[in-house]
């Protein structure tokens, strides 16, 4: 799979924008870690976008606190189509241990549509790379409807 990803990455790079919706920073640190030399996301042509307007993929962490919900929605609207939302971490997937807390909505899909869930607490850098690589492979294989139809 890696070979295909590399080939594909030569044609185009994928811009990811990172959003934290009130998490503990565990997943966020691992996302940053994925960029460091040990894991090195950049060699797959994956770059951190400076703003949602340049993003292809939104990496969202955190259980979504009330205040963050509106912000998350705006960021989603600002991201141009076609876009993908990847919920990184158990909090982003379901709220994790914070589900039921009065200030927490309990998962990214309570606010915006999610294309992929990566559970983990926190998600290891390898798993983050794996998830994005799998996404790239699906795009490559023409399995993503919204790209094919765009």
């Amino acid at each position: 799979m890696l070979k295909k990803v590399k080939r594909w990455a030569f044609k185009r790079s994928l811009w990811v924008f990172h959003v934290n919706t009130g998490g503990c920073n565990g997943c966020d640190i691992e996302i940053v870690d994925a960029l460091t030399p040990k894991y090195d996301l950049e060699r797959f042509g994956i770059k951190l976008a400076p703003s949602p307007r340049h993003a292809d993929v939104l990496l969202v962490t955190g259980p979504v606190t009330r205040k963050q919900a509106e912000l998350l929605k705006r960021i989603y609207e600002q991201t141009p189509d076609p876009k993908f939302v990847v919920a990184i971490g158990t909090c982003a997937t379901s709220g994790s241990t914070f589900e039921g807390a009065y200030n927490v909505l309990g998962g990214v899909d309570k606010v915006i549509p999610v294309d992929a869930y990566v559970v983990g607490c926190p998600v290891r850098p390898e798993a983050i790379i794996d998830a994005i690589a799998a996404l790239i492979e699906k795009i490559d294989k023409g399995e993503i409807e919204k790209i094919e139809k765009a």
């Binding site: 009330r66 205040k67 009065y102 200030n103």
Partner: protein
């Protein structure tokens, strides 16, 4: 904790009792096994008590905890004080009670500046009004929640 340590703590606790007596506050100071002292003073005396304790060396305010006790019709405020460079002196949790139907108390921000933040937190989550605080407003909850929404209150 060794009995020698316990004795040291008891004499320290006695000092605290004496200082409070100086300003007309009669109270018991109990030190637990973990060198944490607990004492309660009436609402009208809490500010003077904190002032004298700071003078005597309890110069660090760790935080202010609020506890809602609806069964007793009160809210309890605990001022967590720590001694600075005072060998053997225990941490001190100084409590006071305020009526639940009128939860107000004088601010201590003129004694401990950092109380600016801790009093706002107790106001936000429990609804206690700190009289004299120059900027009492919510600090954690979104500003658009109803004014009477204080989630740490017991139902």
């Amino acid at each position: 904790m060794s009995s020698e340590q316990k004795q040291v703590s008891s004499s320290q606790a006695q000092s605290i009792v004496e200082w409070l007596k100086e300003i007309g506050v009669e109270t018991e100071v109990k030190v637990d096994k973990y060198n944490v002292a607990w004492a309660e003073v009436p609402m009208e005396k809490i500010k003077d008590s904190i002032r004298i304790l700071k003078e005597k060396g309890y110069r660090h305010l760790t935080t202010i905890s609020g506890v809602d006790l609806p069964d007793e019709g009160v809210m309890e405020l605990i001022y967590h004080l720590a001694p600075v460079k005072m060998d053997g002196y225990p941490l001190l949790c100084l409590k006071t009670r305020i009526p639940r139907d009128k939860p107000e108390i004088e601010t201590i921000t003129d004694i401990f500046t950092v109380a600016i933040v801790y009093e706002r937190e107790v106001y936000d989550l429990l609804g206690v009004k700190f009289i004299g605080h120059k900027g009492l407003s919510r600090i954690l909850l979104p500003r658009d929640v109803p004014e009477d929404y204080h989630p740490l209150r017991k139902k």
